[in-house]
């Protein structure tokens, strides 16, 4: 009897396993072909000197990697990525939290603000890129328009190596603040509403509720937002590619735009793959360290 039940249980387990495999295989086919395999392929390509077209690839071992370490433009691009990352975290998250807090306190009557503030989230990066490129244009842009209103000259923010990167960051913030607004709005909806009621009964003001209850409750959400924003800024591409293409010179070059240029404009597939793989390694290391740091603080 017992043997029978155990073999039945085994049979059941086996059929569950088979069903699991059948359900999971299609998804894994896509993940392996388009994510796992390309990562290895990219590693592999980074050891070759190749223009992407000719049939012969020159194996040069770690030659590309040596070049990457000494490459001043790549270093510049990495620093630009870090600058964007810091500015993004410092600007986007607080404004995102502030907007979400306002909407959460206001409830339904502020729906109008929510709807308007949300709209940039629906736009593609290309559209935002061009919108800002022309809105900040030296001849017909808004800033120049304001400056002319006061009798000033035309101002070229994107054409100036000193201001290009910061100007792009403004556009990036404009694009992503709505995302963090929605993100923290979701975090707010996770806080039980009786907590707010209880705190008002205890005589807490709204600002006390925000600083002492809501913000600590949202700590995990803020942590993930930091990681999200970091990874996002390190792999940033679309907007910069559209607005300045990394220029003027390499003043707003990012790792991703530099990779794209090498692979397609200079036809250096091998070196492009090295940059891409380097980017992958850097992003992984930085995000692992951050996650460790953020979680480590918790225990202290």
């Amino acid at each position: 009897m017992q043997a029978q039940t155990s073999s039945l249980a085994k049979k059941r387990a086996a059929s569950t396993r088979n069903a699991a495999i059948i359900f999971l295989v299609p998804a894994f086919v896509f993940l392996i072909i388009f994510i796992a395999y390309p990562i290895f392929y990219s590693f592999n390509l980074s050891c070759y000197n190749w223009n992407g077209i000719s049939s012969g690839k020159d194996f040069i071992g770690l030659g590309n990697w040596k070049e990457l370490i000494g490459d001043t433009i790549f270093r510049k691009a990495f620093i630009n990525n870090i600058i964007i990352m810091i500015l993004s975290i410092v600007v986007q998250l607080p404004i995102g939290i502030a907007l979400a807090t306002f909407l959460d306190f206001g409830g339904k009557k502020f729906n109008f603000f929510k709807v308007i503030w949300f709209i940039p989230m629906l736009m593609s990066s290309v559209a935002i890129g061009y919108l800002f490129k022309y809105a900040l244009d030296a001849n017909s842009g808004i800033i120049t328009g304001i400056s002319k209103l006061f009798g000033g000259h035309s101002i070229d923010l994107l054409g100036n190596p000193n201001t290009a990167l910061v100007t792009i960051t403004v556009a990036i913030c404009w694009q992503f603040i709505p995302f963090y607004m929605v993100y923290f709005l979701a975090a707010y909806s996770g806080i039980p509403s009786d907590l707010y009621e209880a705190s008002t009964i205890d005589g807490a003001t709204k600002s006390q509720y925000f600083w002492k209850i809501a913000l600590p409750m949202m700590k995990p959400a803020i942590k993930s937002a930091i990681v999200l924003s970091m990874v996002g800024s390190l792999k940033y591409f679309d907007l910069i590619y559209v607005m300045t293409g990394g220029g003027p010179g390499s003043s707003s070059e990012l790792m991703a735009t530099y990779m794209y240029k090498n692979a397609f404009a200079s036809q250096r597939m091998g070196y492009g793959s090295t940059i891409a793989t380097g980017m992958f390694i850097l992003i992984t290391i930085i995000s692992l360290i951050t996650i460790k740091l953020l979680n480590g603080k918790e225990e202290v």
Binding site: I116, S125, P178
Partner: protein, 280 residues
């Protein structure tokens, strides 16, 4: 309440009001610029101030855009969206079911691997996928985009759908099992109908990101018959570099489908994006 705290209260409200309206203006200004410029003539843009209203309701820009190839881009975008989204929803529903419901040996590690894929930057795979599509002979066709779009949106979709499926009471499934349903029938007849709201959320969240995707579309397609709407802006820009009103009208038109969708389903859209935002 004494007078001092009343003044404090009012001044706080005033500051909040200024900030709120300030942000409203910051959000709106680029759109206002876009609309104003779109209705201007090229010389008008060069001569007048940015803030002038268009002298006449000049529609030729928009008519020119509609006479151009915009519908080809639009059609491509719709096909890519529908095909990718369909495959994506089916695959993520299939994958989420065992991960949220079955007890088997490698359940947790498999889930962890899928979730880890969320943090892989698109650009590491860009060149290999470009080379693969050339080799497969689908380079410069809209079908080249389907694979990457499905794969890169799959991890987040599974992540969201697993939470949806975990919330469904186990009893329903058990009742079906007692009635003699196997896992496959339970999936199609019990799980799928119950998880519809989750699928709708996924459709919205992924729909927006697929509709707006740029990097793969730029790399994997090259010619008009296979390019999607975000590339239309790119190409019009190359064609009319100096004609700002023309480019702004292209931008306006390319945004229209999203804005229309937003007008009709803003609650659903915002909720869908909220569910997607919690992924962290």
């Amino acid at each position: 309440m004494n007078q001092k705290s009343l003044i404090k209260n009012i001044s706080i409200k005033a500051i909040i009001g200024i900030l709120v309206i300030g942000w409203l203006i910051i959000t709106a200004i680029p759109f206002i610029f876009m609309l104003l410029a779109g209705f201007k003539q090229q010389f008008e843009m060069l001569m007048g101030s940015v803030f002038d209203l268009p002298k006449t309701l000049y529609l030729k820009n928009f008519i020119d855009v509609f006479k151009g190839n915009i519908f080809i881009y639009f059609k491509n975008s719709v096909i890519v969206l529908v095909v990718s989204l369909t495959i994506l929803l089916i695959l993520s529903a299939c994958a989420s079911y065992p991960l949220s419901r079955f007890k088997f040996k490698f359940n947790k590690p498999i889930y962890a691997i899928i979730v880890a894929c969320m943090s892989v930057p698109v650009h590491v795979t860009l060149l290999p996928i470009f080379l693969m599509t050339t080799k497969m002979g689908i380079y410069d066709s809209i079908w080249a985009l389907v694979g990457p779009y499905v794969a890169f949106n799959l991890p987040i979709s599974v992540f969201i759908l697993v939470t949806f499926m975990q919330a469904i009471p186990k009893e329903l499934e058990e009742a079906a099992e007692i009635d003699g349903c196997n896992k496959y029938r339970i999936f199609f007849n019990v799980m799928l109908p119950l998880v519809k709201p989750g699928l709708a959320t996924l459709a919205i969240y992924n729909g927006v990101s697929i509709w707006n995707e740029f990097s793969f579309a730029l790399t994997l397609t090259q010619s008009l018959p296979s390019r999607t709407l975000p590339l239309a802006i790119w190409e019009y820009q190359g064609q009319y570099t100096m004609n700002v009103p023309m480019i702004m009208s292209v931008l306006t038109i390319s945004m229209l489908p999203m804005i229309i969708a937003f007008v009709f389903g803003q609650d659903k859209l915002i909720k869908g994006m909220m569910a997607g935002a919690v992924k962290g």
